[in-house]
Amino acid sequence: MGDGREITPGAVGWRKNLSRLQAVGIDAALITMLILMGELLVVAFSGRRGDTGLLLSAEQILDLLHYAWALFAGLGLALVWNLFYRLLGASPGRALVSGVPEWERDLEWTHTLRGWFVAVFIELTFFAGWLITELQLVTFLTKFGKAADIVRGLMHPSSSVLHEGLVLLVQTIFLAFMATAFAIPVAFVLAFPSARNLTRGSAVARLAYIVSRTLMNFVRAVEPLVWALIFITWVGIGPFAGVLALWVHSVAALTKLYSEQIESIDTGPMDAITATGASTLQVLRYGVVPQVIPPFLSFTIYRWDINVRMSTIIGFVGGGGIGYILKPRVDLGEWGEVGTLVLLIAGTVWMMDIISAKIRERIV
């Protein structure tokens, strides 16, 4: 059988060293975090007070920790653990990278150092998380009074904004529609170079794959809210900025969904069309497109649905639609009017949900 399968001894040594390095790296990170969390708890419970005489806040404590020392100690301990792994048992990093060794497989977690390490680590994560996010159970349970006003307002919607709300609701739906509709052709074109299975052929195709994937990942990573702020400064406050923000985000989201769909197609028809002597475009048109159109439609309708929801939030910062009038009423505490608007939004989202589910059922 193939000689290409054999791995030279040199390559083995190289791989082994790499995985050792990975194991030490992972261990160092874990031990460092453990040390830091320990220090955090010690400082928090020491009752130390800041300059103002108040107990230290979580941010202040985080600012005080000895990061460099912890990292130094973490690295050292990780090295020791990995060097004497026969004595101490496999470290978490080693177990992750090269698997749990044979002789430790049947041991209970309480019988290995690694088991205790992981247990303490998880425990500390919860304690530290509690402190860092400043969870206050007592406040949560006793100070409901103020929030009750809001709930009461929401339960008694006032009719004064009904008219304006309905008008802007229409704007919201169309805003979402335009953003989705304009996103379809762009995403459709970008989906093909973003599909792994279509871009193995040549160096150019692989480059196109990398470029479009990177670009789309970046665009998707930026929240629609941030896009809205960008477009508001570009084209001014109003629904157009909202359309643009949702459009950019939808292009990225749809490209990903479309290209994943393309990656999961049956390649048989593509082979068959290629074999007739058809050109690349014809192969895409006959071998790929018919397979992906129904799922594409279904994704797109779902996207419209999502965009309606998102456009309310976009409206908060000035992107038009119903969110635009919701924001000042929240600020002024007009809970009755807020209630009306929230009900309008909820009703629309609910209806969109039902309609889009029905349509998607029909298509697939």
Binding site: M1, R5, A275, Y286
Partner: protein
Amino acid sequence: MSADLAVRTEDLGMVYPGGVRALSGVDLEVREGEFLAILGLSGSGKSTLLRCMNRLIDPTEGRVWIFGEEITAASGGSLRRLRRQVAMIFQQFNLVRRQTVLTNVLSGALGRSRLLPSLVLSFAQSERERAVASLGRVGLDDRAGSRADALSGGQQQRVAVARALMQEPRLILADEPVASLDPALRHSVMRHIEALNREEGLTVICSLHDIDLVERYATRLVALRDGKVAWGGRPEEFDRDTFREIYGEEAEPTSNSGF
């Protein structure tokens, strides 16, 4: 080289990216008008060999000529021109399931169609008539408007034969065309392929699992083992003993379930 060779391979070899060697040193000459059967156990390289012939995969070693032109040296337009002469039939039919039977058959004409009209599924009237006629030859002209996946397996494979016919090829590569069909339906498809060979004079290279089918349809047989040609000759000369010699005592030739 002599002009009446449909296919010639020279020292053909294929190593897949993972390092699996699927073919090595295959030298074949297929004359025009032959019905060549390729026999071999699962994994012996039958599909790989056929797919190297029309370059659905690129062989890593050796060369292939189609009707005297070297397809392993062709690219772009000249590769597509060569492919137009070579129709392919697949074990899994490979029809576009959501499209109509007629569109599937018409796609056989893509190699000679103008690009832009073909992208909007628009074909010349003469091509449409030819597609209906091709469907008529496999007895399915009444199903032209059905969706491909509404047909039974045997019918789908006949549509694939009609698509191959639509291509007006000189050579047909068939990769286990009846392996996923009911034994009772196998002959209905094989007979259509045979007709193309006998009546139209097309060259057929067909991989098969089944010795009975080889004896019934092929004019020549090549047996593959581990990616190499292990035996070549007339189907009648290939008896059970030869079979055991090539594939070992374990393998048993059967007539309908493959081996």
